[in-house]
Point group: C2
Chain length 332, copies 2
DNA sequence: CTCAATTTTTACAACGATGTAATGTGAGAG
DNA sequence: CTCTCACATTACATCGTTGTAAAAATTGAG
C-alpha cells in the first residue's frame, strides 16, 4: 500500500496540510517542522498521487502532442524537441497520432477536455475548419504549421517564403525546368498549398512560365510514396532539371528512385527537400533543404500554450520561426 | 464551467450514481432511464473527468513509453506502433526520453509510481542493474530489447542470433574482412554487446580469425557519429570488404561517409544495418538489414503489460520476436 | 509580564467519479 | 390483496490532495 499525505503527517506528527505545505512551498513552514516532514517522506518513500492533485488543482501537468504521422523522422525530431523543452518546464507529454484524420483530431479535443491534459499542441493537416472547432470550452491549443484559417495560437515556418526562396536557389545554377514533388490531388494540406504557392511565386519572379506537367503529385508524404510517384512520372515524362520535394522524407524517396534509374544527382538533376532532417543530411548525396530550428518551435509552442493557460481570453498569437536554405551536395 | 455527473444527473432527474452506471455499463440500467441520461450527457456536452476517475479507480488509462533517443527514425517507428496498438486497447501513451541516462530511467520509475501512469514500457540502454530496481512497489514494467539481467517482463529480438546471421549473410559472397560499426568503448549497451557477440560467433563458424582492427567504435548511435567515426577510421585503415552497422541510422551515416570518399557500395564494400527503418529502405543504395515487426513488439509489450497489471505476482515473462535478414542493394 | 501582531499549524470541506449497502419499485405467486 | 423476490435506483462514504478560514503558537513592544 502506497503512503499518502496522511501517513506522512502521522509519522511526522503534523497535519496533512502541513505536509502539503512542505511540498508546495507556497505557505511557509518552520525549518524544524519541514525537516521532520521531509524525513518522514523519505522513510515512507512517499510519492504524491498526481491523479488526486490533478483533481484538486484542475491541472494534470500533462500536455498532449498530436502529429499526423509518428513514423517519420521529422515527427521524431519534433517530438524530441517538444518533450525536452516540456520536461525542462515540468510538463509531461502525451503523444498522439492523427493520421491526418479530422475525426481523430476531433477525438483528441474531447480527450483534452477530459482533464487529463492541460493543453494540446496539434499539427493539423487537413484542417478544414471542421477539425478545430473553437466553439465550446476548448482546452488551450497551439497549432503547429500552416493552417487554412486563424483559429488558435500558432507557431509556424513561413512555407510560402521558404518554398519561394528554395525555388530561387535551385534556379540560380541556371536550371529552369524545376519540378515539385508532394502535391496531393485529393486531400490538400495547408502546408502543401503554401509550398506550392511559394514555388509558383518564384517562377513568376524568374519569368519561367508555369508548367502543369512539372507538378508531381504523391499520395503520402513518405519516401515510399515519393519513390513510386517519381518513378511512374519519369516513365512518361522527360527528366526535369531540378526537383523540389516538399519534405525531406519525400526527397529521400526521390533520391532512391533516381539512383535506381541511374540518374545522377546533382549532375543530371538537382534535388532539394524541406525540414532538415538528420537522415537528409546524410543522404547520398547529402540533401539541400529548408532548415529551421525545431527547438525554437518547441519553445515558442510551449510558451504560447502556458500563456494561454494563464489567460484564456487574450487574442490569438502567432509566432513565425526563421528558416534558412541549406545547400548541400544534392544541388551543387 | 464544465458539466459533471451531478449536472447530468440533475438534468436527467436521476442520481449521480445512475449516470455513472450508464457510462460504465456494469450495473444494469433500464432502457428509458439510460436514454434520458444519454440525452442529458449530449445536451450538456459532458466529458468525464479522468483525474477524478483515476483517483477513484486507481487507474489512469495512461502508459508511459521511454526511449533512449526520441530523434531517431527507429524510435519514431517504435513509438508509432506502440501508440497505435495502445490506442486500439484504449490506452494513452506518455512519451519520455531517457538519453540513456540511468538517472532519468530512475526518475521515470518514480513518476510511474505517481499514479498518473499505469505502466511503463522502457527501452533501457545502460541498465546496469541500478536503473530498474525491482525492490519496492514498482509499477508494472515491460522492458524492450536486450538487457543485462532478467529483472522484468521483456520483449526483444535476439540480437545475438540476428547479428550472427547477418554476418554469415555478408560472408556468403566471399567477403572475409567484415568490420562492425557501433561498438561503444565507454558506455556499452547490452544490445551492442549482444550484436558484437553474434558477429564474433559468425566469424568463428566461418573460421575467420578475429581482428580487433575491424571493430569500429562510435560515440553515439547516430548517422553523424557514424559518418565521422568511419571517416576517421578509413583515414588510417584499409577498406574492409563488408561493414555491419549495429543500427540502420549508423549505416545511413556510413553510406554517406563512404560516398564522400568515392567508395562504391556494394562493389567496393558491402554495408548492412539493423532495424529495418524506412529511410534505410530508401537509402542509396537501399540498405540490407535485420528486419522485425515493430507492431508485433508493440502488441506483445502491451500484452505483457496488461497481464502484469492484472496479476502482479506471476513470474517474469519473456517474449522473443522473430527477425529476418532482408538483402537489398547495399550488399549485392 | 501582558497583550496585540505576526507566524505557523490545523480542521474542514471541497475537487468529480464510483463502490457499498440500503432503499425503492415492480412483477408474479399464493 | 398481500407478500416475496428480483431488479433498479439512491444516499453516503471514499479515493488523496489542497484552498479556506480559523485556531494555536510565537514574537516583540510597552
Amino acid at each position: 500500500m502506497r503512503a499518502t499525505v496522511k501517513d506522512v503527517a502521522r509519522r511526522a506528527g503534523v497535519s496533512p496540510k502541513t505536509v502539503s505545505n512542505v511540498m508546495n512551498g507556497i505557505v511557509p513552514v518552520s525549518a524544524p517542522t519541514r525537516l521532520r516532514v521531509e524525513q518522514a517522506m523519505q522513510e515512507l518513500d512517499y510519492v504524491p498521487n498526481l491523479s488526486a492533485r490533478g483533481l484538486r488543482n484542475g491541472r494534470s501537468g500533462v500536455i498532449a502532442l498530436a502529429l499526423p504521422d509518428l513514423a517519420t523522422p521529422f515527427s521524431a525530431e519534433m517530438a524530441q524537441s517538444i518533450v525536452e523543452v516540456a520536461h525542462e518546464q515540468g510538463w509531461s507529454v502525451q503523444i498522439e497520432e492523427t493520421g491526418s484524420d479530422p475525426q481523430r483530431e476531433q477525438e483528441l479535443m474531447t480527450r483534452a477536455r477530459s482533464n487529463l491534459i492541460d493543453g494540446l499542441i496539434l499539427n493539423p493537416v487537413v484542417l478544414d475548419e471542421s477539425a478545430v472547432k473553437v466553439g465550446v470550452a476548448l482546452p488551450p491549443v497551439v497549432l503547429l504549421g500552416e493552417v487554412a484559417q486563424e483559429l488558435a495560437d500558432r507557431v509556424y515556418v513561413d512555407s510560402f517564403a521558404a518554398a519561394r526562396d528554395m525555388t530561387l536557389a535551385l534556379a540560380k545554377s541556371g536550371r529552369r525546368r524545376i519540378a515539385v514533388l508532394g502535391i496531393n490531388k485529393t486531400r490538400q494540406s495547408a502546408t502543401s498549398i503554401q509550398r506550392r504557392r511559394g514555388y509558383e511565386a518564384a517562377l513568376q519572379i524568374l519569368g519561367i512560365p508555369r508548367d502543369e506537367s512539372l507538378l508531381i503529385s504523391c499520395g503520402l508524404w513518405t519516401p515510399g510514396s515519393a519513390a513510386e510517384s517519381l518513378a511512374r512520372y519519369l516513365d512518361s515524362n522527360p527528366l526535369p532539371e531540378a526537383l523540389f520535394c516538399f519534405t525531406d522524407s519525400l526527397a529521400i524517396g526521390a533520391l532512391n528512385a533516381l539512383w535506381k534509374r541511374g540518374v545522377r544527382v546533382p549532375e543530371d538533376i538537382a534535388v532539394a527537400g524541406f525540414d532538415d532532417v538528420t537522415d537528409g543530411r546524410y543522404a547520398v548525396p547529402s540533401l539541400t533543404t529548408v532548415s529551421f530550428d525545431k527547438r525554437t518551435i518547441a519553445t515558442e509552442a510551449l510558451r504560447l500554450l502556458t500563456e494561454r493557460m494563464a489567460d484564456r481570453t487574450h487574442g490569438q498569437r502567432v509566432v513565425t520561426v526563421d528558416y534558412t536554405i541549406v545547400e548541400r551536395d544534392s544541388t551543387r
